[in-house]
């Protein structure tokens, strides 16, 4: 797994049937035909109802989830991949590489000298094992419940050569035992004969924790010759992952014990939804990964031969690690991962895809890690050895009690694992000094010079720009406002963020001043939550000398939620949208629709907001009966000007006029008289010139330095 194709998310249900036709063709993105678990139910399931295996849909209530998960794994291990399988694939597909399985096989092999008979298979059943543990004291046969899943492992163990594939069918609960160190029971028992090893019931399973400690201390460990699976590679022991989860506590055991147990014992049950099952059919989920084997350094991916992963084929011959070692191609030079990361993927994937037969590509490789940095490695700790089902608590085991010594050992193990799983504390990253110093210099210069412009404002002030240079879009706004009559309603959309209030207020102060001079009636509205408050503050702070403003005769329609959808709704029916307003009283009583406004002015810094007004509102400004259109003008931040301007440039115009930034406000103030823009103008120009100098000098310096360093490198 890795960056996987979003297969379960990708194909909608309505397409899944369609897609299934393409399944065989769906090399790159998977096998859609795998969607239906019923269709692809393995024969051994369908032919053997007594096996206890049923599809997840059946008898869901009666069977505990861990059992359901168990049978699910088995039912799918020979059949098509389900969603669960995809996520299990790291375990399932590991086959003989899975160290958990190896230990399990060692466990079994010691009983039967590497041969597992069908009868003995039952011994590895979960309840048997638990009862075997219990039998240490009670010496009685473990009961087998009716709904206990009986695994037909003989199907997998058809021949000695096929022993390894059988291991993949081993339930994870078995795998989980050794994964916690329980299976390595012979570690400190050199010379112990196999007969003794067979008496599993007589072995204190908790004592194995101590045994493993001893083994790790370097005490001799006897390993069965000819059993490659007993060669547990160093580093295969799980450290934190099996314990990194906290399954629910049943109460029958100490919580941590249940955690241990469930971490290893319980399998993930069937996917939660049919949809997930359907989505599971995408084998591309497993093929196309972020850390695709093709993306990996050669030393990681070299042993990932395409023919080594038929985990979905129980009859496929498997290989021992030795065999695999023999088959490994000569390792290539190692590439660091960062270099791999910047290597074009296509170039790499295409090579691998040329080598990969499509059918096999669609199948998950059974021998590689697919998640995280270990992706592509073989013989490594499984990335997710603790795949368990968390949905339901594990079933309590009656009569299971811990002795004090067992508890002490368990506590010891828990403390060891606890430290392993603790995450490293976060560290704050340091800042490089030269960058910091450069930033300081810029900040000091900018703040000092701009502030000095105010300090020296009595002796040095710039005049506003000449009105002759006023651009036509500014003139258009002025002429539109000039055409307004006294009492005309103007919708003022306050659509800027508080942080932009400085610029937008400087840009629009002259416009509002002009509107008030024309005795226009102002109605505020906003799709920003802060908009109504900002609009109020803007009018009250800057125009409180006007009676119309100070007596709050203007209307504030408030906040319209829902983004552009809300805006569309507002434009469609302003009364319904703001039903709480006093529409039967002035100043709103004259307004029935948005076409009753004489002018719409949008104050915004965001081109998307401007676009929303153009897209959603502007088409509705035309009166369908009279054909007259309410003009829409915009006061925008300088950053939005190039983006809003095209709406002005179209014919017919979608935006009838435009004022941009403090420059536009400055032009307008040459007509209406000085206001905010004039107040800021000098400092603004100082800051602009200073920034230009810094950027120019900085760029030239950097270019020169780059050139010089390039020259010196060339010489050397």
């Amino acid at each position: 797994m890795g960056f996987t194709d979003d297969s379960d998310n990708d194909l909608p249900d309505w397409l899944s049937d369609l897609g299934s036709d393409q399944g065989d063709e769906g090399i790159e993105y998977g096998e859609d035909s795998a969607f239906d678990p019923e269709e692809d139910k393995p024969e051994w399931i369908t032919n053997d109802p007594s096996s206890g295996f049923e599809l997840p849909e059946e008898d869901e209530e009666e069977v505990p989830d861990w059992l359901a998960g168990l049978r699910e794994q088995h039912s799918t291990s020979t059949g098509p991949k389900t969603d669960a399988d995809i996520f299990l694939s790291d375990d399932d597909d590991l086959d003989d590489q899975d160290w958990l399985e190896n230990i399990r096989d060692q466990y079994v092999g010691e009983e039967g000298e590497g041969e597992i008979s069908p009868e003995e298979e039952l011994d590895i059943d979960f309840l048997d094992t638990i009862q075997a543990l219990k039998a240490e004291d009670e010496q009685e046969e473990p009961p087998v419940s009716d709904d206990e899943p009986t695994v037909r492992l003989q199907d997998y163990f058809a021949s000695p050569e096929e022993e390894m594939p059988a291991k993949e069918d081993t339930p994870d609960w078995i795998s989980g035992l050794p994964s916690m160190g329980f299976g390595d029971r012979d570690a400190d028992q050199p010379g112990e004969d196999e007969a003794q090893a067979e008496e599993e019931a007589d072995t204190d399973w908790l004592r194995k924790i101590r045994d493993q400690e001893a083994a790790e201390r370097g005490e001799p460990v006897e390993e069965s010759p000819g059993e490659p699976e007993s060669d547990i590679p160093e580093g295969r022991y799980p450290k934190e992952q099996p314990f990194s989860e906290t399954p629910e506590v049943t109460g029958s055991l100490p919580a941590w014990m249940e955690t241990l147990q469930t971490s290893g014992l319980v399998l993930p049950s069937e996917p939660d939804t049919d949809e997930e099952l359907a989505g599971a059919g995408y084998s591309d989920e497993e093929i196309s990964t972020l850390f695709e084997q093709d993306d990996l350094p050669d030393w990681l991916g070299s042993d990932s031969a395409p023919d080594t992963g038929p985990s979905a084929e129980p009859s496929a011959p498997s290989r021992t690690p030795e065999q695999e070692e023999d088959e490994k191609p000569i390792e290539r030079a190692e590439l660091p991962s960062w270099l791999q990361a910047i290597r074009p993927v296509e170039a790499v994937t295409s090579v691998a895809e040329d080598h990969l037969p499509d059918e096999q590509e669609a199948l998950p490789s059974g021998e590689q890690e697919r998640v995280g940095p270990l992706s592509g490695l073989r013989d490594v700790l499984p990335a997710e050895p603790h795949i368990i089902h968390f949905g339901t608590p594990p079933r309590a085991i009656p009569g299971f009690e811990l002795t004090e010594i067992q508890r002490q050992h368990a506590d010891l193990l828990k403390s060891m694992v606890g430290t392993e799983s603790a995450s490293a504390p976060t560290k704050r990253r340091t800042v490089a000094n030269p960058q910091q110093i450069l930033r300081w210099v810029i900040a000091i210069l900018l703040l000092a010079f701009t502030f000095a412009a105010f300090w020296l404002s009595n002796s040095f002030t710039l005049m506003l720009p000449k009105p002759e240079g006023m651009p036509p879009e500014n003139l258009a706004v002025i002429s539109l406002v000039n055409e307004l009559s006294a009492g005309d309603q103007v919708l003022l959309a306050v659509e800027y963020q508080p942080g932009l209030s400085g610029e937008l207020e400087a840009a629009s102060a002259a416009l509002v001043q002009h509107l008030l001079l024309q005795d226009a009636r102002i109605v505020l509205v906003s799709t920003q939550p802060t908009g109504p408050g900002l609009g109020d503050a803007f009018l009250q702070e800057n125009f409180k000398g006007d009676d119309y403003i100070s007596s709050r005769q203007y209307a504030n329609l408030g906040y319209v939620s829902g983004g552009s959808a809300g805006l569309l709704n507002f434009a469609s029916d302003i009364r319904q949208t703001k039903a709480d307003m006093a529409w039967d009283q002035p100043p709103l009583s004259d307004l029935q629709t948005i076409q009753d406004f004489a002018l719409v002015a949008v104050l915004t810094e965001d081109p998307d907001t401007a676009r929303s007004w153009v897209e959603q509102v502007q088409p509705l400004l035309e009166n369908p009966l009279t054909g007259q259109e309410v003009p829409m003008v915009m006061v925008v931040s300088a950053q939005a000007e190039p983006l809003v301007y095209p709406y002005y440039y179209t014919d017919p115009q979608q935006v009838a006029g435009l004022i941009s930034g403090i420059g536009g406000g400055a032009y307008y103030e040459t007509v209406t008289g000085p206001s905010i823009a004039q107040h800021f103008w000098t400092a603004y120009n100082v800051g602009l010139v200073l920034a230009m100098i810094i950027i120019a000098v900085g760029s030239i310096y950097n270019l020169t330095r780059n050139s010089l360093s390039g020259l010196s490198k060339g010489r050397s």
Partner: protein, 212 residues
């Protein structure tokens, strides 16, 4: 029962998404204004409710920080500010006895939100100058140089000198309303294409970001 529910969770979400989306889409191409109004009416309540739910998310993060670290002064300040602002704003709206001598929501907006946000915007000026001065080093290419040149020319045209100069205005007009307008149109159209594709993926059920 669990299985039954689990079977229908994501599909239900998808059914709602697709059906509501398709109906809404039809209102753009067919005269179904009434239907669109009904959907939008409901949707807007939901969008506003989602905003309030977002507040709970924000609170949860910072409450956790305060619980984990007693020195998380900032988080504590955030929680208090949020709760006080929320309560004050609603009290002012729905009770007639909110005293004038206490800071109201307008006060909080005017004297806290606006100045901090404006100052943050102002600080960005330093960041932008710094970034622009370094871009030719950070990403050395001919296009970075074009970027810086255009930036400088536009800035010159925005000064008093540039605005009063016919040449400055002509150059600014050509760059901003000619070259940049062309580039912006291309980008806008491209973004629109991407938006349509993304929307259609959701409407066809391929993307299900709602838990599916």
């Amino acid at each position: 029962m669990k299985k039954f529910i689990s079977n229908f969770r994501a599909p239900l979400g998808m059914i709602f998404a697709i059906s509501a989306g398709l109906i809404m889409l039809m209102t753009y191409v067919l005269p179904l204004d009434g239907l669109r109004a009904i959907i939008l009416n409901i949707v807007m309540i939901g969008a506003a409710a989602a905003l309030v739910i977002g507040v709970f998310n924000l609170l949860a993060v910072h409450v956790k920080r305060v619980e984990e670290d007693n020195k998380a002064l900032g988080s504590l300040v955030l929680i208090l500010a949020l709760v006080i602002t929320f309560v004050v704003t609603l009290l002012q709206e729905y009770t007639g006895f909110y005293p004038d001598w206490l800071p109201g929501s307008d006060w909080l907006l005017t004297y806290i939100q606006v100045p901090v946000e404006s100052a943050l915007m102002g600080v960005m000026a330093v960041t932008l100058v710094y970034a622009a001065a370094r871009i030719v080093t950070q990403r050395p290419s001919i296009f970075s140089m074009i970027f810086v040149l255009t930036l400088l020319v536009t800035m010159i045209a925005s000064t008093q000198f540039g605005m009063d100069s016919n040449l400055g205005q002509s150059v600014q007009t050509f760059i901003s309303h000619g070259l940049a307008s062309g580039g912006a149109r291309g980008i806008i159209i491209g973004v629109a294409l991407g938006t349509i594709a993304t929307g259609l993926r959701i409407l066809m059920g391929f993307d299900r970001p709602y838990g599916g």
